[in-house]
Amino acid sequence: MQKKSLFSEFTKGIIKENPVLCLVLGTCPTLAVTTSASNAIGMGIAATAVLVCSNAVISLLRKVIPDKVRIPAYITIIAGFVTIVQMVVKAFSPAINDALGIYLPLIVVNCIILGRAEMYASKNPVLPSILDGLGMGVGFTAALLCMGIIRELLGSGSVFGVQLLPVQILIFILPPGGFFVFGMLIMIANKLNGRKGKKAKASPCDGCPLSTNCNKREEGVLDAD
């Protein structure tokens, strides 16, 4: 039983609670760095490393950190790991460091990492916290990789720098294309999770072309029935 639940701690981040596609956290790096598949992988691995380490340390210190100053404490821990990761990336892969630019140090304020620290690591023991961080990191990397491959394939006609298509639809490597691919992936993730959109409530205002801008409905004038 214990083993199974540990395994589910790991897998929940991949599809069911995918941080990007279901919780819609960390969208800024998601949209900014996914112009190519290799950037996406670099970002995903860097964030995963920080997430696993910070989850582990915060979980270890969860009984020591006073409740009132927990957010500054988490930020300090996360910032420490981000600095380490940035130094490692700079030393071993300067090209990725250049490509990710400001988004690498900005992992400090990535909602996913702070979110997992607050929601999970501060309440759970070390092992599940590490697995949770790993699962969320893998989910983040997978979502980024999907976006990176789609955007690079359509926008520059290549994947990981290998030219595959003769045409380039430039809009896919520009911000509007990023938002579009992001929306499509959220749609697919919702479909996989079996979520359905809410049905609109019927109202007497529905037939009126001005109903979306008219404030009568909010004022309750027409809700007399």
Binding site: L170, I171, P176, L210, C214
Partner: protein
């Protein structure tokens, strides 16, 4: 004699205007422009129009089928979108790029937001802008008119990109210059606009205010007003694009604000941006602002007294 007594709730009088009839009027109004395009740019223009119309209708049919909704190709709105999209493209564009434009217009902008009446921007314009951003070189290579009578196609600058005074007003009016296939012949567009006004399909407010405000704004920035109005896509935009029912305000003052915004932005973009043309971007921006404009200009209900500030309900 029909002696049946019908009992129904109001309204009891209905106008016989249906979506289909209005769209048919728009298609008729676009015919002079389409014919002019075919005369100026040859049979390739005709095939481009055919590809776009067929692509839009087919994609509308397929997407409605996939979404399990009723088929709406009978209301001819997809034909109008296809026609407008084709008129917004240069004649030598690759057919697959044109089809990609149809996909953006019908599937992404129109059907994903719920079909006719639900699109937040004009589908044909959005498709044009997506193509312009995605394929800048193909979208901005303009061949000279009557190129098919010459040995091979020669590209030329549009009046907006060319040196000032290259083209006379008559040339601009008749369309003997480079540009998108539907925007070159201003005379044909004006003819179509007059037809729409007579049939009361569009109200004169948006096109007139658009053109007047663009002219005034050109005076302000020191450009030739008549040259600015007759060149580029301004006529096509003012008469056929900005007047789209779904994406323009319904209130009178809303229409005025909307059209002034379009006109001013068009000239500002033409004068100060690095794009030669600003019509599509300005109309798209005002399309998005339409709900806000309607909110501000909503007419007061008869007998409705505005509540004073601080007064309790």
């Amino acid at each position: 004699m029909d002696t049946k007594l019908y009992v129904s709730s109001s309204p009891h009088f209905r106008s016989n205007a249906t979506t289909r009839r209005i769209m048919l009027d728009v298609i008729i109004a676009l015919m002079p422009t389409a014919v002019a395009a075919c005369i100026i740019f040859g049979m390739q223009a005709l095939s481009l129009i055919a590809i776009c119309v067929a692509g839009c209708v087919l994609l509308e049919y397929i997407s409605r089928k996939i979404m399990k909704r009723d088929t709406t190709i009978g209301d001819l709105s997809a034909v109008v979108t296809g026609l407008l999209l084709a008129l917004n493209l240069p004649v030598n564009i690759h057919p697959l790029i044109a089809l990609f434009g149809c996909l953006v217009a019908i599937v992404v902008v129109k059907q994903m937001f719920g079909g006719i009446g639900m699109n937040f921007v004009n589908p044909a314009l959005a498709a044009r802008i997506v193509l312009l951003v995605s394929f800048p070189s193909q979208m901005m290579s303009w061949v000279v008119p009557f190129w098919y009578q010459k040995a091979d196609a020669i590209t030329a600058a549009t009046p907006l990109a060319a040196e000032k005074g290259t083209y006379s007003y008559i040339t601009l009016l008749l369309g003997n210059h480079g540009g998108s296939i539907g925007e070159v012949c201003a005379a044909a567009l004006i003819l179509g606009g007059i037809y729409l006004l007579i049939r009361r399909v569009i109200s004169p407010i948006i096109p007139c205010v658009y053109i007047v405000s663009a002219a005034l704004m050109s005076l302000c920035v020191g450009a030739d007003p008549l040259y600015q109005i007759l060149s580029g896509g301004l006529m096509l935009g003012a008469i056929f694009m900005a007047t789209d029912y779904t994406t323009s305000p319904v209130t009178v003052w809303g229409k005025v604000i909307y059209a002034v915004g379009c006109g001013v932005l068009t000239i500002l973009l033409r004068s100060f941006s690095n794009m030669p043309e600003g019509v599509s971007f300005s109309i798209l921006l005002m399309n998005i602002l339409t709900p806000l404009i309607e909110r501000v200009t909503i007419p007061r209900t008869l007998g409705f007294v505005k509540q004073k500030k601080g007064e309790k309900k």
